[in-house]
Every structure is written in structure tokens, then in C-alpha cells.
């Protein structure tokens, strides 16, 4: 499955580069053949002017396994950042650090500092509940609750007490579904189980469920990997619209997708953040050998 995906990606990546060649903006830095040892420095600018989230020297361990190694990265306000890299390099792990979803894994241990608006989210005293209300997450496989469509969306507002009345809740549900582009499709069957929707609809339902809580940051872990191209296009469209109001970090295996929806791109390799930069720059002019190999499909 994964292999086939990457084959697709290869062709698309080449197209992107071919386009870039036409523009003629290909400049090659020789900084990018350094080996990935422990004091490896990420290539490209990890900091931004108005960071929504800011990570410094983040390390993640699964027991003895060092899954994320000394990662510094800022996530900018109202921007989409894409995280790419070969399978097992730690993209999901890093993403899950951002709203402390790693807490649910017993053996997982996170060190370093991750700030959301100047607040260290790994502070002992910090409460994960409001954090997760602020930093929502959409998963790789659509995971609607075995409840009705309405209840799926209403779940978040209900537990947080966001809607004072039934009418208000109805409104939140409608607004979230509308934003996820699902309202027209499901408005007549809100009381039917969410698990009865198609895969693409389910994923949009999950996105709607996430935005119903009105988070500030949305993390998406390969949100389209289980979807067909049409559903993928819809979700991508949606991400682009959401950018207006939210800060988004998305993990993807499709470089085409990364190129389409993101403004910045970060390339991970074996737990290291190898290179980060503007999406156009990464895809047209990768500065590290590994990034280039990955993007051109020589490695994956």
C-alpha cells in the first residue's frame, strides 16, 4: 500500500521539480551533505516572526528508542506547515507531541520545550484538557464515534460546555459541518450513525468534529491517506479555507499535497528535522542531499 503511494508521489514530485526547472530558480547549496549525527543542525530557518507554537530541543523516547532527536521548530500563525519524510522517521510522533497525545502511551517520554503562545505545554502544572481544546487533532484513519452524526460533532462542545442551549448547539453543529463541506450531504440524516458515512465523508466528519471545539491549532496526521482523489481534493480545499482562521500542521506522504496546501515544509529523517523552509523552496531547491533524494523519489 505504502509502496504504491510513494510511486505516485514520485511522479508528482518530479513534475513539481520539472516545473521549478522551467522557472529556473534552482540554486544548489553544498551545506546539505552533512551526516546526521547528534549535533546535526537543521538546515533552513526554524524560527518565524509570529510563532503560534515554538519547539526547542524536543526529544522523544519510546522506552530506549530515541524517536525524535533535538528538534527546533516554530509553527507560524495562520499558516499551514507540512511535515514530510520517509516512513518511521517520527512525523506522527512529533505531531503528537504538540498536543501531548503522546501522554496516552505509557512508555513515551518527551523532553525539551514546546510553547504555545509563550506557555510551556510540558509544564507539570499545565492541564492537557484545555491544551487539547486549543490544539485539536485529526487522525490518519477516520475514527468517528459509533454515534449519530449530530452527536459526533456535538461531543466536543458538550464536554466543554461550549453551547449554552440546544439551539446554540444546533448552530455549532451546522456551522462546523458547513465548514467541513459536509453540511449539504448530511443535513437530512444527522441522526444516523457517523460510521455509516463513506470514508471521505467520515474524515470530513472528523475534521468538523475537531473544529466544532473551535481550536486554535489543528494537527492533521495524514488526513487523506485513506481517501480517494476526489475526497482528498475536497479535504485539501478545506484545509486551504481553514488556514484563514487556524494554524495547521499536517503530516503527509504525498508531496503533491504538501506542495498544494502548505506554505512551509519540514523534512524529517530518522528522528532528525533535516530541513525546513518555504514550501516552494523545499520543492524547487532542496538544500540537503537527503531532502533532495526524498523529493526526487530516489529515497523513500
Amino acid at each position: 500500500m505504502a509502496v504504491r503511494d510513494e510511486e505516485n508521489d514520485m511522479t508528482t514530485a518530479e513534475t513539481v521539480i520539472a516545473d521549478a526547472d522551467l522557472v529556473g530558480a534552482k540554486v544548489r547549496s553544498k551545506a546539505g551533505s552533512r551526516p546526521l549525527d547528534n549535533d546535526f543542525k537543521t538546515i533552513g530557518e526554524v524560527r518565524v516572526n509570529d510563532p503560534r507554537m515554538s519547539c526547542t530541543d524536543v526529544n522523544v523516547f519510546y522506552g530506549d528508542k530515541h524517536a525524535i532527536k533535538h528538534v527546533d521548530l516554530d509553527i507560524a500563525q495562520n499558516q499551514v506547515i507540512a511535515m514530510i519524510g520517509p516512513s518511521g522517521c517520527g512525523k506522527s510522533t512529533f505531531l503528537r507531541c504538540l498536543n501531548r497525545m503522546n501522554d496516552t502511551i505509557d512508555i513515551c517520554n518527551v523532553t525539551g520545550e514546546i510553547r504555545l503562545d509563550e506557555v510551556d505545554i510540558y509544564d507539570r502544572k499545565l492541564d492537557v484538557v484545555p491544551l487539547r481544546a486549543q490544539v485539536g487533532m485529526v487522525f490518519q484513519k477516520p475514527n468517528p464515534f459509533p454515534k449519530s452524526i449530530y452527536e459526533n460533532i456535538a461531543y466536543g462542545p458538550r464536554i466543554h460546555g461550549l453551547a449554552a442551549s440546544r439551539a446554540e448547539l444546533d448552530e455549532v453543529v451546522e456551522r462546523s459541518l458547513a465548514k467541513a463541506g459536509l453540511w449539504e450531504e448530511v443535513k437530512d440524516r444527522l441522526d444516523q450513525p457517523g460510521t455509516g458515512l463513506s470514508g471521505g465523508q467520515q474524515q470530513r466528519l472528523c475534521i468538523a468534529r475537531t473544529i466544532a471545539v473551535d481550536p486554535e491549532v489543528i494537527l492533521m496526521d495524514e488526513p487523506c491517506s485513506a481517501l480517494d482523489p476526489i475526497a482528498t481534493a475536497k479535504v485539501e480545499e478545506l484545509i486551504d479555507e481553514l488556514r484563514e482562521n487556524y494554524t495547521i500542521a499536517i503530516v503527509t506522504h504525498s508531496m503533491q499535497q504538501a506542495a498544494r496546501v502548505s506554505q512551509r515544509t519540514a523534512y524529517f529523517h530518522l528522528g532528525h528535522l533535516v530541513e525546513v523552509g518555504d514550501t516552494t523552496q523545499i520543492f524547487t531547491n532542496p538544500r540537503h542531499k537527503l531532502t533532495e533524494d526524498y523529493i526526487t523519489g530516489r529515497f523513500g
Binding site: 498536543n99 497525545m101 496516552t104 492537557v128 484538557v129 484545555p130 491544551l131 487539547r132 481544546a133 485539536g136 487533532m137 487522525f139 484513519k141 475514527n143 468517528p144 464515534f145 459509533p146 454515534k147 461531543y155 466536543g156 464536554i159 466543554h160 472528523c206 468534529r209 475537531t210 471545539v213
Partner: protein, 455 residues
Amino acid sequence: MALLTLMAFAFYLGRRRSLTVVGGRSGVKNLHSLPAYYGFYTALWAGLPALLVAGLWLSFEGSIITTLVVDGLPAEMRDTDPGRLGLLVNDIKNLASGNIVSAHVDETMQRAADHLNELRSVGRMALGVVVLSIALAAGALAWRAIGPKMRARNRVEFIVNGLLIASSLIAILTTVGIVLSVLFESFRFFHKIPLTDFLFGLEWSPQIALRADQVGASGAFGAVPLFAGTLLVSFIALLVAVPIGLMSAIYLADYAGPKLRSYAKPVLEVLAGVPTVVYGFFAALTLAPAIRNLGESVGLVVSSESALAAGLVMGVMIIPFVSSLSDDVINAVPQSLRDASYALGATRSETIRRVVLPAALPGIMGGVLLAASRAIGETMIVVMAAGLSANLTANPLESVTTVTVQIVTLLVGDQEFDSAKTLAAFALGLLLFVVTLGLNIVALHIVRKYREQYE
């Protein structure tokens, strides 16, 4: 015993012959199978038919001998009703084996008893002779058939395969046996007492039927009070077991540290291994008096055999049952659903209550149904702690009786096999079997469907 030695001997002979036929050890490769298989082949032939005959013989010997003895009785003694005759035969049997006999022993009975003993010893001898000769004959036949061409291994395997199939059919036979035995006696019961009286009658007092000779006519066999009592006790039990079992499963799975979990789980499992008679003892001698004292101290009238005590203890008994089933079911809820809930900012308990439990509900329902079937079929606790009086009440402080209690009381002690009283026990047994089987089938179906839902 003799048969076993004979089989061992047959094994040896068969093996030997297979070797001789091909001219000693050097010729082994000319044999179709290993020599041992020829041995097994001969031994099986010597043993199996003889064993079969012996089994059949033993299972019918009793009834045949009884018939013979009855035939030998003087005509006027034979012509009483079957119940009386049964008692008489019992007396004769007791007399024959030298036990104390209730009835007056006269000469005919003494003669009959001697006759019985004689028949028995003749039977034993005949059995020995028949079985041994069958074993010898079959073994010899098999022995003679041995030759280098004989496919001994395949034949042995064929027989062994047959034995394996027979073993697995025993499960089916057991079910058939249960159904037939309760059904057959129940039909006889419903012949005497109409089904509707039994199912909808409000009064249960089977004892009266014994006294008068008009069997069944005066006894009341309305089983509704029994159903009510069974339901009341089971309900109390579930009221105890479901919350405690479910909550402790949740706590041990989601909250407890590995240390507490590794200690608490096996300790709770101990509750499942304690024999029910021990629970019954605890309920009857410790809990029931305690509840009574407690009740009296607040001015309540509590029967010394209250439904409450039986139900509470039964609840404790099924806690591990509920908790291990819930544990399975809760663990089957995929992590992705929990993740989704946590990612929305739900707390642990919100996730459990609003996502995990609803998702696990079908499975939990299945578990509860299984637990209910356990509770309904549980016998010793209620026999020892719930009492015998068939009260139609919903008050847990009163004494009630249950289906299983009545089966036990009707069948323990002296009995005439044909009275409505004993037959009623089988009717109750049929009911119990049907209800618990229904519950089990439904519950297993639900649980399986539930598992499939999450692969």
C-alpha cells in the same frame, strides 16, 4: 483389567507375527507399515469390540435383571400400580445387597432377593465369558489377517480417526441426552398438569400431591412464584455484580498502576474459583443473620432466609465473571476512538463514559446476559440461603424460592419416580435449560457480532 492385559498381549503377538511373516527384523522393509502398527491393529481388534459389548451389557443389565425379577414375583404382587412396584423392587434390591429394608420382609421378598442375587452373579460370569471370548476371537482374526501387504497403518489410523470423531460427538450426545431426558419427563408431567397451569399458576405447593393418592390433582404446580423468586434473586445479584464488576474492570484497565493490577486481578479471580457451596455457607451462616440483625435494629422484619442475602452473595460470586468479560469487551474498543476523544480535550472519565462505554455497550450487554444466565442457573447459594417458601413477593427481605431450589428439594431424598412431584422437577429443569440456553445463544451472538464490528 483382564481386557487390558489381553490387549497388551495382542499388541505383542501382532508385532511378532508381522516380523515372522517377513522373516525377522531384516525383512522389516518389506512390510507395508512399521511392526508396531500391526501390534496396535491386533490390540484394537481385541479390545474395542469386547469393550463395546461390555458397555452395552452393563448399561442394560440392570433393567433386564429387574424385569426378570419382577416376572418371577407372584402375580398378585405384580399387579399393583407402577409406583408401588418400584418401591417393592427397591426393597428387594436393598435386601439383596444386605441393606436395611423399610418394608416388612416376607418369604416372597426374600426369595425374590435371592433370585436377584443369583441373576446378578450369573450375569457377571456370563459377561466375563462373553467379553473375553469376543476379545480372543476378534484378536485372533486380526492376527491371522496380518501379512506383509496389509496396510496396517492406514487401518489403525482409520480406527483412531473413528475414535476421535466419537469423542467429539460426545458433546452433541450430551446435549441430546439433556434435551431428551428433561423433555421426556416433562411431557409426562404436562400429561398430568396442563402446561398453562404450570406456566401461569400463582400457587406452588407440590408437597400436597404426596399425601393424597390422587396424584397431582391436589398439588398446586403454578410456577410463577418460582419465576418471581428466581428473577428477584438474580436481579439483586446483577445489581451487585454489574456495577462492581464493570467499574473494577474499568479501573484496573484505565487507572490502576501495573502493580495494583497485577495483584488485584488474580485476587478477584479467586472469587470465581470458590465453590458455590462455600458462598452458600457464607450467605446462610454469616450474611443472613447479619442482615437480619441489621434489619431488626432499624425495625424491619427480615426473614432469616432472605432473598437479599442470597442475591448479594450470588452477586459477589459473579463479580469476576462480569469484570473479566467487561475487560475483554472494553479492550476491544479501538484505541483510535479513545485518541479521538482525548484529542478533543476530553478527560479520562469523559472518554470512558461517553465514548468507550457506549461503544462497548453491546458487548457489555452480552456479558450481562451471560451473567444473568449464570445467576438463574446457580443452585447451591439459593438452596442454602433463599429458603423453600414459594412467596410471590418483590420484597427482598422476605424469603423466596427459586427454580433451582425447587428442583433440588423435589429430587433429593426418597422419591417415587412417577409422581407429579418428581416430574415437576424435570419440567422446571426443562424450563431452566431452555431459558439459560436462550440467554447464552443470544449473548454469545451479541458478543461475537460486537467483536466482528471492531475486527
